[in-house]
């Protein structure tokens, strides 16, 4: 659940985006520009948060009135080991140290639904965090580190994000779309029975932008509340594919079937009447994208 500092959306004066070149970062910057909000985008090329001089460099770039969005992280494709965990923790330490020096107005930390364990299929913000891998543990650790900064903190926990421009090829809409286009075949694990919630990157950017404008604090899952089986996603992608027909192939199952649904009541309370991009529309928006 989140609480708004401003009932009506306004500002903020400037948003500093750490991890600006990432999938979500790029979408957020585009949305903030559209809203006319001044931004300072920072990617690892401009500022390596893992470097020893990062706290001082970042502190010199920050203004006390800034809102800071922390998206920078080494994602699982860069490593799933303890070393990656420690490098990610060091990056967050740099952000916290810079905050200590500058004391910004608002910190938005982009966490992940990986902080939840595999147990409960229906997840809300009240679901206890129980990470099962270093990636989830990293995000939970960074949430705890962020809670120590002297600024209102918002933690966003997005679920599976898709959309044009996604550099990852994770199992789901993006991989299915590419596979349908290039091979005319979508390969499922098992029968694709698992249900998941897929959210379009534009929704993630929109919700983050709203939170920045309202000065929101607390913890919010960023999900649509609509889960669909991977087979359902594959059928949807196949139906929209320019290449026809698209074969949907069942495969061997190595892991047990699990499901994940989101109770998004907290999001509906925070932003009444919010309209999510449906999966049909979201996949359609990706046509032509690599």
């Amino acid at each position: 659940m989140i609480v708004h500092a401003r009932a009506a959306p306004a500002g903020p004066q400037r948003v500093v985006v750490l991890g600006a070149h990432g999938f979500i970062g790029a979408a957020l910057i585009a949305r903030l520009k559209q809203a006319g909000i001044p931004i300072l985008p920072l990617a690892s090329k401009e500022l390596d948060l893992a470097a020893s001089d990062a706290p001082g460099k970042l502190a010199r770039l920050l203004e006390p009135s800034d809102s800071v969005v922390m998206l920078a992280a080494l994602t699982p494709d860069k490593g799933r080991d303890a070393g990656t965990l420690l490098r990610n923790v060091a990056m967050m330490q740099a952000v916290c140290a810079a905050f200590e020096e500058t004391g910004c107005a608002h910190l938005v930390y982009f966490s992940s639904d990986a902080v939840y364990g595999p147990g409960p299929s229906l997840v809300s913000e009240e679901t206890p965090a129980a990470p099962q891998d270093f990636y989830g543990a990293m995000h939970l650790s960074r949430e705890l580190m962020a809670s120590g900064v002297k600024a209102p903190l918002l933690v966003l926990r997005p679920t599976l994000v898709y959309g044009a421009g996604d550099p990852h090829n994770a199992y789901g809409p993006n991989r299915f779309r590419r596979a349908a286009r290039e091979q005319g075949k979508i390969q499922l694990f098992g029968e694709g029975e698992e249900t998941r919630d897929h959210i379009h990157v534009h929704d993630v950017a929109e919700i983050a932008c709203l939170c920045l404008q309202h000065g929101s604090r607390g913890t919010l899952n960023v999900a649509t509340g609509r889960s669909l089986s991977f087979r359902g996603v594959a059928e949807l992608v196949a139906a929209q594919s320019h290449k026809q027909p698209v074969e949907i192939a069942a495969g061997a199952r190595t892991n047990p079937v699990t499901h994940r649904h989101y109770d998004v009541t907290a999001l509906l309370k925070a932003f009444p009447g919010y309209r999510f991009i449906s999966l049909e529309e979201g996949v359609a928006r990706c046509h032509g994208a690599p």
Partner: protein, 423 residues
């Protein structure tokens, strides 16, 4: 032995209803409250609560009823019930200060042979801590149900009496009063009686929560809970009076208090209360059914929709809005235009910036894109779906408690959603 004189100290919901019911049973009753303004209002027959029969019985038995703000008037009473409502905070924790102070007043004012009975809801261990060596003190379980309080006081199912020594006979005056109601009397030790009250509510909550869990599953699988519930009631282990109606979580304050008490004791004593916390989580989840459904059906589709909401009280036949699902819903509809109506609770109580106070249920429906019936008042059941459909601009009806006839609604062209049934 002449009929004992009965007193009730604390003229809030419990004390007032119990006092009026005792007068209806033919007893002389002293109704005491230190708040002189409250007593003056009661003398003018202005009631602070709404309960079926209460006004009528107050007028009918006024000769046997004395309303007083003077503790001196307790001196002549044989049995004195200490019955102020025990307020709770948002987490369900009881504030025992009002009952502590009332009990002290009563001990000071009561005659030497008076029997003092704690009727308010107190946690296990409370009554034994309040024992005085020269006082007969008992605890009696109240099972007040909002909207049925008078009926329950006149025809109780049983009396559960907490005693210092359950083997000792009850004082004659107290026994005479209880026996006048013709129901079983179950003496037990203080702590058992205090926990018995909580146990009754725990079983009630477990039935309600189980119904809610299964009703939600019905909504997603095509099953209909209204077809399942009658079959369960024919099972002897569940029974015909089991609470199987799905609802919008637990509300009203009393059940939440008991859940909070059990969790607190379990934490202190190291017993397992995980299931109770799961009930609370499910209650919060189901409370927001209307918001989620309204979002799916209307809020995410229409620009600036008008929402008609019938019912503000937490349940029918009561003025109480404590933990009302209706008010909880309205809190999250601040930016939308609302048309509100409740037979008892004024629309102003919602404190909504864009709310219109409709004089009738049908007037509330005028021009609405969606109608939400949040409290199952009887008068809403007599609304004709065709009349509703004619007045509305849209056609979405959310009727969580199934007040209206689902088939008639669909025939009238309404898109009808209720708990425990598929869309």
């Amino acid at each position: 032995m002449s009929r004992p004189v009965i007193a009730f100290a604390g003229m809030t919901h419990l004390g007032l209803v119990s006092g009026v019911a005792a007068s209806e049973k033919g007893f002389r009753v002293v109704c005491f409250d230190p708040d002189a303004r409250r007593i003056a209002a009661l003398r003018r027959k202005e009631l602070p609560v709404s309960e079926p029969q209460l006004e009528h019985l107050l007028a009918k038995n006024s000769e046997r009823l004395v309303f007083t703000s003077s503790a001196e008037d307790l001196k002549s009473c044989d049995v004195i019930y200490v019955a102020p409502d025990v307020p709770t905070d948002d987490a369900g924790a009881s504030d025992l200060a009002p009952i502590n102070s009332m009990l002290e007043r009563v001990f000071l004012a009561a005659g030497p042979n008076a029997v003092v009975v704690v009727l308010s809801q107190v946690p296990p261990g409370y009554t034994r801590r309040k024992q005085h060596p020269d006082r007969a003190l008992h605890y009696q379980v109240e099972t007040l149900i909002f909207g049925r309080a008078v009926e329950r006081a006149l025809v109780p199912e049983r009396y559960i009496v907490g005693c210092a020594d359950p083997a000792a006979p009850l004082p004659a005056t107290y026994r005479a009063f209880l026996e006048a109601h013709g129901c079983p009397i179950l003496p037990m030790r203080y702590e058992s009686a205090e926990l018995c009250k909580i146990s009754i509510n725990m079983f009630l909550v477990s039935s309600v929560t189980t119904s809610n869990v299964l009703a939600e599953l019905c909504e997603k699988t095509g099953a209909d809970w209204s077809e399942i519930a009658p079959a369960l009631k024919l099972d002897r282990r569940i029974g015909p009076h089991a609470y199987l109606a799905p609802g919008l979580g637990i509300a009203g304050g009393n059940l939440e208090r008991d859940l909070a008490t059990v969790c607190r004791f379990a934490d202190e004593l190291g017993t397992d209360a995980a299931v109770v916390r799961a009930w609370l989580a499910n209650s919060r989840h189901r409370r927001d059914w209307a918001l989620r459904t309204l979002h799916d059906e209307v809020l995410s589709k229409a620009d600036d929709p008008v929402i008609a909401v019938l019912g503000l009280a937490y349940k029918q036949d009561t003025h109480s809005t404590k933990n009302s699902p209706s008010l909880a819903l309205l809190k999250h509809l601040q930016r939308f235009s609302l048309r509100l109506h409740d037979p008892v609770v004024p629309a102003a109580e919602a404190g909504h910036p864009r709310a219109y106070a409709a004089r009738s249920a049908l007037e509330a429906c005028e021009g609405a894109d969606a109608l939400v019936i949040m409290t199952p008042w009887k008068e809403f059941a007599s609304l004709s779906p065709a009349d509703i459909a004619r007045r509305m601009r849209g056609n979405v009806v959310l009727d969580p408690h199934g007040v209206l006839d689902a088939k008639a609604c669909r025939e009238a062209g309404l898109r009808y959603r209720t708990l425990g049934a598929p869309a």
